[in-house]
């Protein structure tokens, strides 16, 4: 056991300070997409919705409804329309009510 004791001392502390301090490694976590309303047209929205494997995206006539809860951050929407989609970088997504997780994104893109 002394072996482990010495190992531990030499290893030092690796524990994160989160939530007191921000955690550096969070930068690399996959995060849900963020959308550029100006780049979103109805057609784009439909393509995004079709590309989403988890049904997190759907278009209700003039808005894109984004259910963060169902999003798996797979990045397929970003691959589908890189100009309209980037990553939000938000990983603190816990919600105390389900409806909070459903976002509506306006479609501001110039159609046609």
């Amino acid at each position: 056991m002394t072996l482990w004791f010495v190992r531990g001392l030499r290893r030092g502390v690796v524990t994160t300070r989160y939530p007191a301090r921000p955690e550096e490694s969070a930068r690399y976590l996959p995060t849900p997409p963020a959308f550029r309303p100006r780049a979103l047209t109805a057609g784009t929205a439909d393509r995004l919705a079709a590309s989403c494997p988890s049904g997190a995206l759907r278009r209700a006539d003039d808005v894109l409804v984004f259910d963060v809860g169902r999003c798996t951050a797979c990045g397929r929407c970003a691959a589908e329309a890189p100009h309209a989609v980037t990553t939000s970088g938000a990983f603190e997504l816990a919600a105390t009510s389900r409806s909070v997780l459903v976002k509506t994104i306006p479609l501001r893109g110039e159609t046609g």
């Binding site: 056991m1 072996l3 482990w4 004791f5 190992r7 531990g8 290893r11 690796v14 490694s25 690399y28 976590l29 996959p30 494997p53 988890s54 798996t72 951050a73 797979c74 990045g75 397929r76 691959a79 890189p82």
Partner: protein
């Protein structure tokens, strides 16, 4: 006929797969002759007459390695009892009966594998009634079964009693039911139910496009997402005749080896936990976390979801990140392993625990480190026509067949993985999008795909219709194979406290078994 099969089995084939039509009557003879090979999988697909497919693997380190598929169409709902010749077939016989209602000719009672006894408010992990009152869809015809025909795997008779364990077990592990049959002192028998986790994946995949399917296939067994996804993608590519670009293949390989690394680190942590060595667990978990962060940095996902894409690679590795972080992360792994191997109290618990013999492993068709620890050479990376072809990969094996042997095999594999990752990165990989990703060629067909997951060979078989939609997909993660060796390993000693250690050394998932 059969002699032809043997020659085919021992001949290098482009693509590594040879398929034969076998008439139902002489299936038994064929199975006898192919018994030298490993029965890798067995499944049925529905049609006007259901078709039974047996996948045989020729485990060899050389050009003659490959797979042989025999196709047999079942007319009268019965086929020769294969599990009497090849015991490895038993689980699949049961599964096929549940799903298609066709059964081996011998009236031997079959177990319940996938479908729960019955859904609804009174479902239990242990009681048993016929399949016909599970309100669940099946892949083929509902079996015409009376309740007593599909029976609970074990009923305890005589003076032993069953120690019920699960399905809700200790913290942070999957739901799984053990029936530990004991006489009070010795482990008479041990069996498990996984139907609490059956998500009907093969049923869901029917009608999907390969890309949609991949999303679920990766989640069949999340801890081997890359391997399962790659096997499935390879099957689709074989079905459509797509040749994925070599760079994409290397990307997959890098992800696969990273997956192997973090799984072996997790297995090491689990071994320490099961032996009560918290300090070792912490050391292993430090390595594990660093490997997962490496995954996130390199591929954008801690568990490498979405790396494999049908026809190519969905994500590209950040080669610089890997070059930067892999040595450090693997250093943690290596140091923890060395410290463990020099901790006698730990090694003693592993030695001569949960022994499996090579014969058992062969009879049960076990794969992966579990089989290699018994001295069997079986590794899907040795199969032809992969990115590993030129790498001169070394497959470590051991002979003891106990937990320690599995552990040492895992450590050796980890070292080999690091070397391979280096080679592949230097050879060059590709980004997820743009040229070189590879696109799926249109059209249909059937194909077999494989990849060596951390737990062992993962297999997938798909049949696509002309629009390229899936008509039948068969997923066989390594977990679906290796659980069947678990009770034999547990019965090899009669110490209850060894069972968690053995489970950790198998490092399987209930999700993969249940799908």
């Amino acid at each position: 006929m059969t002699s032809e099969l043997i020659t085919a089995a021992s001949r290098a084939v482009p693509g590594g797969v040879t398929t034969f039509q076998v008439a139902s009557p002489d299936l038994e003879a064929v199975v006898r002759d192919l018994h030298g090979l490993r029965l890798a999988d067995m499944f049925a697909s529905d049609g006007d007459t259901p078709t039974l497919r047996l996948v045989w693997a020729n485990d060899a380190d050389g050009p003659q390695s490959g797979y042989v598929i025999t196709e047999t169409s079942i007319e009268n709902g019965e086929y020769p009892a294969l599990s009497d010749i090849a015991p490895a077939a038993f689980v699949e016989e049961c599964e096929i009966y549940e799903q298609f209602g066709i059964r081996p000719a011998s009236g031997k009672p079959l177990n319940r594998i996938m479908l729960p006894p019955h859904t609804g408010p009174h479902n239990t992990g242990t009681q048993n009634t016929g399949t016909q009152n599970t309100g669940l869809p099946t892949l083929g015809h509902r079996p015409p079964s009376e309740p007593e025909e599909v029976r609970a795997p074990h009923t305890v008779a005589g003076q032993a009693f069953e120690f019920p364990f699960g399905p809700v077990r200790q913290v942070g592990v999957e739901s799984l039911y053990y029936g530990l049959v004991t006489s009070g002192e010795e482990v008479v028998d041990l069996y498990l139910f996984t139907w609490h986790k059956h998500r009907g994946l093969e049923w869901r995949l029917a009608g999907m496009t390969p890309r949609q399917a991949l999303f679920l296939v990766e989640r069949a067994e999340g801890l081997s997402a890359v391997a399962m996804g790659w096997a499935f993608a390879a099957a689709v590519e074989a079905a459509t005749g797509t040749r994925p670009p070599a760079a994409a293949q290397r990307t997959r390989a890098v992800a696969l080896e990273l997956e192997r690394l973090y799984n072996h680190a997790a297995a090491m942590a689990a071994l320490c936990q099961s032996t009560g060595l918290s300090v070792g667990q912490s050391a292993a978990e430090i390595a594990l976390e660093r490997l997962l962060r490496l995954n996130a940095r390199a591929f954008g996902h801690r568990y490498l979801f979405g790396v494999v894409d049908a026809g190519g690679a969905g994500r590209a590795p950040d080669a610089d990140a890997i070059r930067a972080d892999l040595p450090g992360a693997y250093g943690e792994f290596r140091r923890a392993a060395d410290a463990l191997l020099s901790t006698n109290s730990f090694v003693d618990r592993l030695e001569a625990t949960g022994i499996l013999t090579a014969d058992q492993a062969g009879a049960l068709g076990l794969v992966g480190p579990v089989a290699r620890a018994t001295g069997r050479l079986g590794d899907a990376r040795l199969m032809p026509d992969g990115p590993y072809a030129g790498t001169g990969i070394a497959v470590p094996t051991a002979t003891a067949g106990d937990v320690l042997a599995r552990f040492t095999v895992m450590l050796a594999e980890a070292a080999e993985s690091v070397r391979l990752i280096g080679d592949f990165i230097d050879a060059g990989t590709v980004t997820g999008t743009g040229p070189g990703t590879g696109e799926l060629r249109p059209g249909g067909g059937t194909g077999l795909g494989w990849a060596e997951s951390p737990r062992g060979e993962a297999l997938a078989w798909v049949a696509l219709d002309d629009e390229g939609r899936i008509t039948r997909a068969r997923l066989r993660p390594a977990s679906a194979r290796n659980w069947r060796g678990f009770d034999d390993a547990c019965r090899s000693q009669n110490v209850f406290t060894d069972i968690p250690i053995i489970e950790a050394s198998f490092w399987l998932t209930a999700a993969g078994m249940a799908r």
